[in-house]
């Protein structure tokens, strides 16, 4: 039977690095997707994701299990990503080539859902519209759309109430709909 996150955390608190590696293997992909969505830049996103895991490792002894591990981890990652986004406004969604084999090879054309002309245009508009959102609005959209997290969990990650999550989502969707009205 697979150990729970909390069991792994406790083993990690006892100094077992292997337990932390297991937690990394469980969540690195999810964290990377969220951070790439927030930053748009893969290299920066990987740096941020690794930094998030490093900080989680450093602080793991203070984790008491009051919230779920992934909520706690997402909170660390999202906060670093938002800070990073504010600090450096790099060209978003202009993805660079793979770095040091971190990204597994895949057939981009085959899995690109925006392959025809109309959809490519939609993609460009979508990217532009997302980039116009504030980091906080972008974060709620990503956590809800990609991860399918509940308002409660999103609130716990972003340190705000469920009501705030609801209003941020409503505002962000409205903005996106306004900018994409011709395509939706």
């Amino acid at each position: 039977m697979e150990p729970s996150d909390w069991e792994l955390v406790q083993r990690c608190q006892a100094g077992e690095t292997g337990a932390f590696q297991e937690l990394v293997s469980r969540y690195h992909q999810k964290i990377c997707i969220v951070v790439i969505g927030l930053l748009g830049n893969r290299e920066d996103a990987l740096e941020v994701a690794q930094e998030a895991f490093f900080r989680a490792y450093r602080k793991i002894k203070s984790f008491q299990g009051g919230s779920s591990f992934y909520t706690w981890l997402y909170r660390i990652a999202v906060n670093i990503a938002i800070d990073s986004q504010r600090r450096q406004k790099r060209n978003p969604l202009e993805f660079r080539e793979t770095m040091d084999g971190l990204f597994e090879e895949q057939n981009e054309v085959a899995r690109d859902p925006f392959s025809d002309v109309h959809d490519r245009e939609l993609r460009e508009k979508l990217v532009a519209a997302i980039n116009d959102l504030t980091p906080e609005h972008k974060a709620v959209i990503i956590l809800r759309t990609v991860e399918g997290l509940s308002y409660k969990d999103i609130g716990a990650i972003l340190g705000c109430s469920e009501g705030t999550v609801m209003s941020r989502l409503h505002y962000a969707r409205k903005k996106l709909q306004e900018k994409l009205s011709a395509f939706l």
Binding site: L46, Y57, E104, R123, H170
Partner: protein
């Protein structure tokens, strides 16, 4: 009965499954009879699916091994920084440097203890005030104060060799308590 504006405001929350069963049912029934609001629902669903596709398309599989190595390197860097300080302290104490470092530490500890003893001694000395010569005929006064019991003793006495005021003799003729 809620109007279309209210329904439009709640569509996102309804799609997210965050409404109560009763409220969700109200919206579902409204959508069945309102083409305009149903159109807005379809727009929101398309926005959601487009966003999901975009984020997933832009998020490649990240290989665990190199990713974990990167995390480990950060942990190791942190350890190296700590180890650096530990090693500096160790190197300061080891080898030729240790030859003076250890005695120096002992001297410092002894100095601290000596200062402490001196202070205690000084406090004790405060109990004894003074011996003074009153006149040129060998009459002296000794003043003794004992702090603990708050006792003060004043002793007048005559020194047979009073005219001789050399320090050595004064010392000899001091009363003993």
């Amino acid at each position: 009965m809620r109007n279309c504006e209210d329904i439009a405001e709640s569509l996102g929350v309804w799609l997210d499954g965050e409404l109560s069963l009763a409220d969700a049912e109200v919206i579902r029934l409204h959508l069945e009879g309102c083409a305009q609001c149903d159109g807005k629902r379809r727009q929101l669903e398309k926005l959601h699916s487009s966003l999901k596709s975009l984020f997933e398309a832009n998020s490649p599989r990240v290989a665990l091994e190199p990713f974990w190595r990167g995390v480990q390197e950060r942990i190791a860097e942190r350890r190296t920084w700590r180890q650096g300080i530990t090693e500096w302290v160790r190197s300061a104490l080891a080898g030729p440097a240790g030859a003076w470092a250890v005695p120096a530490a002992i001297v410092i500890v002894l100095a601290i203890l000596s200062v402490d003893s001196f202070r205690k001694l000084a406090t004790q000395r405060n109990n004894f005030a003074a011996v003074e010569s009153i006149d040129a005929h060998g009459r002296n006064v000794a003043l003794w104060r004992e702090d603990e019991t708050k006792t003060t003793v004043i002793w007048l006495y005559h020194n047979q060799e009073g005219e001789n005021e050399s320090s050595e003799e004064n010392t000899e003729t001091r009363p003993s308590f």
